[in-house]
């Protein structure tokens, strides 16, 4: 984002003081509460400057395990969402364009189901499951997906919740490509259909794949409702539990989760920026010379 803004915002002969005003207002709006929160957490009355609120969190039982669980859930969700959607969306565009609307509707359905309703549904299935399936091999399955060390059921719920976001971002990425022509060009160059997708389509979808991963990660990091109702403790649930006991700590908890989310997203963005994208520069627009 930063790169795009930098190149499109060319200096013009217009007064630019309003930009400064916007920056100050936005800065105050976004950073003000943050700064105040940080000050509140480190400046305790009668004690002066102390980091005890933060060390308290880091030292509390369950910090690492809940964080690890969240990250594992995030990775699993991202992988499942991408494996589910990318092949389906490419295939639909290449060979069955009429099914596009169907996929769009299916992927948008989770938007109309509130998280609480989704969870209520999951809860009733999980209750009904063991008794009904008691004598089938599926009994083990239904227990296994609720394994607290890695609750697959949460991944399933998160995948559903991430579908609308993932569909939109992937759709935007695919829209920007002339997929049919690119695949035909690749096949004309001797690439089998599978290689055409791997070597030409996926590299050009990199931005969209990254954005999808980005949004899914953010969603999983901040998800509280489903996990807490189902009784699992990923990071968001743990952090709420730990924060309730002490004023300073509760604010420190939100500051910390904000910073953590931010860091993870930065890492993801950095990981996604490949060599071929670094060499290309949109500033060079060559004039017609032929």
């Amino acid at each position: 984002m930063a790169a795009i803004t930098a190149t499109t915002a060319k200096p013009k002969n217009r007064p630019r003081y309003w930009r400064g005003i916007v920056a100050v207002v936005a800065g105050l709006y976004f950073l003000g509460p943050l700064v105040v929160s940080v000050i509140f957490t480190v400046d305790v009355p009668n004690q002066g400057f102390t980091l005890s609120a933060y060390t308290g969190i880091l030292g509390a039982a369950g910090f690492l395990s809940s964080l690890r669980l969240t990250l594992e859930l995030a990775v699993a969700t991202i992988v499942v969402v991408l494996l589910l959607l990318v092949p389906a969306m490419i295939a639909v565009r290449l060979s069955a364009p009429r099914l596009r609307t169907l996929i769009e509707i299916v992927c948008s359905l989770p938007l109309v189901v509130p998280a609480v309703a989704l969870t209520a549904g999951i809860v009733s299935v999980l209750r009904w499951g063991p008794t009904t399936l008691a004598r089938t091999p599926l009994y083990e399955t239904i227990l296994q997906i609720q394994n607290p060390s890695f609750p697959v059921v949460l991944v399933l719920a998160y995948v559903l919740m991430a579908l609308p976001l993932a569909y939109r971002t992937l759709d935007a990425g695919l829209r920007a490509l002339d997929l049919v022509t690119l695949v035909e060009a690749a096949r004309n160059c001797g690439a089998s259909p599978a290689r055409a997708v791997l070597r030409v389509v996926l590299p050009n979808l990199r931005g969209a794949l990254l954005n999808t991963a980005f949004l899914t990660l953010a969603l999983v990091l901040g998800e509280y409702t489903v996990a807490s109702i189902l009784g699992f403790t990923p990071f968001a649930v743990w952090i709420v539990g730990i924060g309730g006991s002490q004023a300073q700590m509760s604010v420190a908890v939100s500051v910390l989760s904000l910073v953590l989310t931010w860091v993870l997203l930065l890492i993801l963005a950095a990981a996604g920026r490949g060599p071929s994208f670094r060499t290309s520069s949109r500033k060079l627009k060559v004039k017609e010379t032929s």
């Binding site: 060009a185 096949r187 004309n188 030409v200 017609e288 032929s290």
Partner: protein, 359 residues
Amino acid sequence: MTATATEASAVRDAGGATVEFRGLRRVFGTTTALDGLDLTIRPGELVALLGPSGCGKTTALRIVAGFEQPDAGQVLVDGEDVTGVPAHRRNAGMVFQSYSLFPHLSAADNVAFGLRMRGVGTAARRKRATELLELVGLPEHGDRFPHQLSGGQQQRIALARALALEPKVLLLDEPLSALDAKVRVTLRDEIRRLQLELGITTLFVTHDQEEALSTADRVAVMHGGRLEQCAPPAELYDTPATAFVAEFVGTMNRIPGRTGNDGTVEVLGRRLPSRGEARPDTGVDALVRPEALDVTPGGDARVVTASFHGAVTRLTLALADGTTLKADVPSHRAPELPAGAAVTVGLPDRPVLVDDRTA
């Protein structure tokens, strides 16, 4: 464009295949794109498929590339039926109408993409890409990305990419239609020069008759999924086989006449041998080019307007019976034939093409 003989010969060895369409049929839902197309393209020949949109020319090309399957009929390359061969195993290089370079690869990598698919080593790939970039006149642009290239440059790179695998057939699907007029003419001439140099059999789909007539060895005019006529440009223009060809290529006048019983037609007060299908002794239209009409001062026809076109001036004439004609006269004669002048319209001593009267 500094193609040396060695670069050209590298591709020439593979060029020069015969391409044959045999009774190709393709139906999309309710529209018949190809309705029994038969056409043979000789080795090293550039044939332009020309026709209005929806005439099936692009479908025919895509069948050669393997992107469409015919419902019936065959495509033969060098006598071998390739109809069942998947697209990526056909030896046909294609340049697409829309910009089709892979956006994530540099120009050189785009050109070398096919070689990479074939497992050619990096050094050999690089060498070949450099050769081809020189061939299309863009040796300095190898490390540019598609979005840094102009439309004309992108199509040149696409041409280099299509030639990289030394295809037997080169397929051009309206490659110039997205470019602006000036670039279009330059690139069209370069494509032709390159094609002659490489001696590669080429199919060039276009809806622009000027493009077809100026570049092709033979122009195949298609209409409603069928071949109307395939002939060298001059023959196509001078002696069109059908009324459709006559009116699609260039400008054509329809002059009312009447056929005789002996294969002649009476038109503008003269009796001339007739061509084309028309029943004897019926009212027909004679099809005559504007430049074939002989306009002389004095008579019962009238000049309605005269518009200057450089070397020629186009006159719009009204005959005594109300028929409107277009005639091109050399501009130096235009002053004798101002708007409003009374003139006589004459025909050359040649057989005329006749067609059933319209309207």
